[in-house]
């Protein structure tokens, strides 16, 4: 099995190579997809990596959701394709309306950069399929806007449907209900603030992220889209003005083996 993962690169992304390394280390193949691309190509999963897409100007993810590639990501997610947003990628998915809620500034005015213990709360997602509920993992966080919040009604819905995928064991940022990651109803779209891709090699501090990246590769290789037959979900995305123009940028698709 060599699952093919597309890693989206926005101007200002900075964790794309961490994802590529982790995917390679676990036997998959990865390619970088420039944000100006109109299509995703033949990928079996998509990762929106961490960083500061479009400089986080206006708000984290606010401008990235108008990047041309996001229309393709939206269609891919609606078809049931696995889509995972890590850190800034999670912020982009909430801004795009592919996941509910929003990430506000950390409680306490601190940029957080450390390892935190988290607990797997749900295994009906492309990132946690096959991972036992209750599994404890230590994963790095690296964010300023990681304090998850949502309307009361949305929170009730997430809890009732078991859509909180990860919770912090010791809440580092003030997230409501200790939420570290959530999924859509179908389970093919997941967003999380911790960085599993940075915990896949003992040389850089741990391997607890392997179980999650491994689950994503299994979901990609095993055809999560087919297994969940048209379970793509209409999340009532926010109104979309005309797409962001990429005039002046360089819409090239950079590839890595």
């Amino acid at each position: 099995m060599s699952a093919r993962v597309g890693v989206v690169v926005f101007p200002g992304s900075n964790c794309e190579h961490d994802v590529v390394e982790a995917v390679h280390a676990l036997g998959g193949t990865a390619e970088l997809v420039w944000h100006g691309a109109g299509a995703l190509g033949q990928v079996e999963a998509v990762v929106l990596p961490g960083g500061f897409a479009h400089g986080d100007y206006l708000r984290p993810g606010a401008i990235a959701r108008f990047s041309p590639v996001m229309a393709a990501v939206r269609d891919y997610a609606a078809d049931g394709g696995p889509v995972v947003g890590i850190c800034n990628g999670f912020q982009v998915l909430t801004e795009a309306g592919l996941l509910p809620g929003a990430l506000q500034k950390n409680a306490g005015l601190r940029f957080l950069c450390r390892d935190v213990p988290v607990r797997v709360e749900d295994s009906h997602s492309v990132l946690t399929a096959g991972v036992e509920v209750g599994t404890g993992l230590t994963l790095p966080v690296n964010h300023f806007d990681g304090n998850y919040t949502a309307e009361r009604r949305t929170l009730d819905e997430l809890r009732a449907e078991g859509r909180v995928v990860l919770r912090y064991v010791e809440n580092p940022n003030g997230s409501v209900d200790d939420i570290a990651g959530v999924r859509n109803a179908a389970g093919n779209v997941v967003g999380l603030m911790p960085h599993p891709e940075r915990a896949c090699n003992p040389l850089v501090g741990g391997t607890d992220g392997r179980v999650l990246i491994g689950a994503l590769l299994a979901a990609a290789g095993g055809g999560w889209a087919r297994a969940s037959s048209g379970a793509g979900e209409a999340q009532a995305p926010r109104e979309m003005p005309a797409r962001l123009s990429t005039a002046g940028s360089t819409p090239t698709s950079r590839q890595t083996a």
């Binding site: 801004e95 500034k105 950390n106 005015l109 309307e151 109104e239 979309m240 003005p241």
Partner: protein
């Protein structure tokens, strides 16, 4: 007509405003103990071409709703400065 506008983006009640809180916490040391309720937001100035003030307002309301604010976190107050 071209209208100038000021959009003030503010965090909604209950949403963290650590920047405002930090400024407020620093005030007593600076001798401003009489100042309270500090909130930090964004001010966005822009111009819009429209046939009337109502049309300009409607267009900018749409812009605020779809792009300039995240309704989970923020509200916006729109002030039309004048048309010419």
């Amino acid at each position: 007509m071209r209208f100038s506008a000021l959009v003030e983006v503010r965090t909604r009640a209950g949403i963290a405003d650590p920047e405002g809180a930090t400024i407020e916490a620093a005030l007593p040391a600076l001798g401003f103990s009489d100042v309270a309720n500090v909130h930090v937001g964004k001010a966005i100035r822009l111009e819009v071409e429209a046939d009337s003030a109502e049309a300009a307002r409607a267009r900018l309301d749409e812009l605020c709703r779809t792009f300039l604010t995240n309704p989970v976190l923020e509200d916006a107050e729109l002030t039309l400065v004048g048309g010419q």
